[in-house]
Symmetry: C2
Subunit: 504 residues, 2 copies
């Protein structure tokens, strides 16, 4: 700065210095007074906690939760996917046995992680403390509204003139429906379902041991000629375990339609179900099985009121946190006409079904359910079902207990067919868990199938010619296989032999 | 700045300008890159929504919720306290009838609003989607741990060697306990409770209509000489509706101890309850009735396992959102040894009980339960109970149905005594709702009592002396009263008269 600076320049510099100083003071003030600089006030601490937990790295093979067990470093521990372990889920469990018994819908987790910003909720300490909503009911009107919007989009059920009731999962609603239907009848009601059926129908009905109803078993073998006996028939469509679309078997029965899987993720939407009782669950729609949220659409007002009474006395409704969360998730689903979720769900399940069913097609020892293509109104095209479960059958007589075969030889825990009222030559295995889980499942099933036979035309060369047992290593279906063979000297050439070998 | 400025000064100025500029650029960069300046990323939008709803003004007579019905301005509407109305809850409902039937624990709401920052939770879209926790159970270990800490502080129950099970409110656990206890017995079990009892014991047991148990009524009139009959006795302590500490009546019965109100808010803690089944609910501890969360402490392993099975088949556990929220709330309670919550709770209930019982003491027509002072180990002093309900008795024969009297003459809806197995000369009225609710309740009860008599010695001066009817306006107990009296010429002086007048 020399003495010949113009007045303008000097003013400019002074202005710069002073305004800069003022600006700095202002910024520092605003920064210290957090309430102005950031939007969150009381939610800030909670937001920070949740963000920190979400950022915990579990090597892509697990995740941490806000309420997880606190580890040595004071933060919640990683909870690992199947067959992964270690503090950060990096290590594979050696000789891992894969539990594919439960239908845990974790395949949808990546979808919600991707849409983190629009699917989080902040629950204040004083959120909905009261027993009822403002209208005196136990049901969120906004959530009710969102559910009806969703059904309007997917057209999987007729909602016209329907009453709606919420439950803690479809689990609670199934029991409420059986109970409430049975009150109408003066004689004990027989509760039935066609085989194979979802095991909970039987175990739940038996537990309650009511004077008014009894689980009687397979719907297709019931004698309906006695008009004094009333029936309640569970119609599960798509069916659990085999994914088939189904209709009622008995004429004149009270029907409970369990439509847990009647969404584009798993099934063509062929037409809107138009029945007396239609039950859905968030577990299979969004994957939030832990939230315990389901709903039933009821035609008859009397029946609806009886179910409301049952819900009142059983649990006095569904928690307010759960209803708030379901609202947020379903708002996200409905936005954009449901396309995002259903594309993700269908895309994932379709791919998995193709891979697994193709693997099992190569097998003579095992078969899997055949599912026909049908026209889907939602996707506006023909498509095959993409079920959440493989309903595997052991075709060979000596494989009497299929679940034991699959466990012993493939290290996969499935659910035995007898639990579904079917034979133990069947086993149900879940395709709906995490990607890690499915990868391991596929790998184990591929190995299992590959052990069946090496296939005609596969040639091996051996250098031993004496009567003895030897081992060979070969590749089948891209997997290393070890076999042990006996040579009785008659079937092979002396020196270098080539033979077709069947597994022992 | 003149030309004789020293080098130092010029350097200082240059330094000031440049560092200021650098600082400004840095600050602007940080401000624009929100992720650095603010902690929230994906939770930001959810936090903003929640904060905005919390800031909705409802004139101090209500509040808005995140999932409230959306009003014309696109934000959730105000949900008003009893007898308030209008878009912002500013208007009083004329001739309002106050619903004091339900035990909605809204008196605790201000406590949670005050502790907003440490009691909010952010629930991510992928929080705990699976059916089970990492250990395969349906129970959060962290929450379990917090509950045991709380009981260690309050010493209201013995938790040593106890199994714990969660339920959707104590509602679900009561039913689970009855069911599971009855499975042990080969003969139908009689379910009893001493009068007056909480109505749900009867209605819930009757609804389930099991072959294994029946609600039989008043425990104190049961014939226990038949050893083939087993009993299940509900012991509610403090009792609902009358707040009395109670013990079992029947010897040899299976006992279910319902300890919903056994907290310092309502009762002296005289000793830790040491029984087979002890049931608690979040509803009465923190006031979160809408969350549907309770827990049972069980001594016997077999019974515990039967209750777990019941919970599995009824609802498959309690929602993950609810357990996360309960954990956050209880962590806050436990911090600081529970002092804050219990001081607030006890302080509020004590004050309300004093005001209401004092009002009713002035009455000959109505009485309220007498509650004795006892030593409280938690507060380390003698104290009277401060119950959530007034158990009002109509003392006059002509007031046959006390709930109708209180409704018709005080415009207060209470719950009739017959629902509690008692006579209809009783009515239960809640003291546990919002401050607005209690103010109105007190006001209505005061008016009701004031109408009984003007009291001896109250003197009025009249200027009419002819035989006629006239009206007088006076103040009794601080309230304006209008009365109509007849004068037959014999009891009053001619001109200015003064008389003791009884209400007609």
């Amino acid at each position: 700065m020399n003495s010949t600076e113009s007045f303008t320049m000097r003013t400019l510099k002074l202005g710069l210095i002073y305004s800069s100083l003022i600006f700095n003071v202002f910024i520092v003030y605003k920064y210290l007074d957090g309430s102005h600089l950031v939007d969150e006030k009381w939610s800030k601490s909670a937001a920070g906690e949740a963000e920190a937990v979400a950022a915990v790295s579990c090597s892509g093979h697990g995740r941490a939760y806000l309420d997880g067990i606190i580890g040595g470093d004071g933060t919640p521990v990683c909870e690992c996917n199947a067959c992964f372990t270690g503090l950060d889920c990096f290590e594979s469990v050696p000789e891992c046995v894969l539990d594919a018994d439960s239908g845990n819908p974790i395949y949808l987790e990546p979808f919600w992680m991707k849409h983190a910003a629009s699917t989080a909720i902040v629950v204040s300490g004083w959120h909905r403390m009261g027993y009822e909503y403002d209208d005196g009911s136990l049901i969120s009107q906004e959530l009710r509204s969102e559910i009806f919007k969703l059904h309007d989009i997917v057209k999987n059920v007729n909602t016209t003139d329907r009453y709606i009731i919420f439950g803690a999962g479809s689990t609670q609603l199934l029991g409420a429906a059986v109970h409430s239907l049975s009150l109408k009848s003066s004689t004990p009601t027989k509760v039935v379902a066609s085989v194979p059926y979802y095991p909970v129908y039987k175990s739940q009905t038996e537990l309650l041991d009511s004077t008014k109803y009894k689980f009687t078993g397979d719907a297709s073998i019931q004698n309906t000629s006695d008009s004094s006996t009333s029936f309640i028939e569970f119609v599960t469509s798509p069916n659990n375990p085999d994914g088939q679309l189904k209709k009622a078997v008995l004429k004149g029965s009270n029907k409970i339609h369990d439509l847990a899987y009647y969404w584009p993720h798993y099934s063509p939407i062929v037409s809107p179900v138009d029945e007396d009782i239609a039950i859905f669950t968030l577990s299979k729609l969004t994957g939030h099985a832990g939230s315990r949220f389901g709903w039933a659409l009821i035609k008859d007002k009397d029946l609806y009121q009886r179910m409301v009474k049952y819900m009142d006395l059983n649990t006095y409704g569904v928690s307010r946190e759960t209803q708030l969360r379901a609202l947020k998730l379903l708002k996200h689903v409905v936005r954009g006409g449901g396309q995002e979720l259903f594309e993700f769900g269908y895309g994932t399940m379709k791919h998995r079904w193709e891979l697994l069913s193709k693997t099992l097609q190569a097998s003579k020892r095992f078969s899997v359910q055949h599912l026909s293509s049908q026209y889907c109104t939602f996707l506006d095209k023909h498509r095959t079902p993409s079920p959440a479960f493989a309903w595997i059958k052991c075709e060979q007589e000596e494989d009497e207990e299929c679940s034991k075969v699959v466990l012993g030889e493939a290290k996969v825990i499935g659910r035995a067919g007898s639990l579904f009222g079917a034979g133990n030559d069947y086993v149900r295995v879940s395709l709906a868990d995490s990607q890690d889980h499915f990868n391991i499942l596929l790998n184990h099933i591929e190995k299992l199938v590959s052990q069946e036979k090496i296939g005609s035309g596969t040639r091996f060369h051996f250098y031993n010619t004496a009567n003895q047992t030897w081992h060979a290593n070969y590749q089948f279906m891209g997997l290393d296989q070890d076999i042990q063979c006996s040579f009785d000297g008659s079937s092979f050439a002396h020196h270098q032999g080539a033979a077709t070998i069947a597994a022992t």
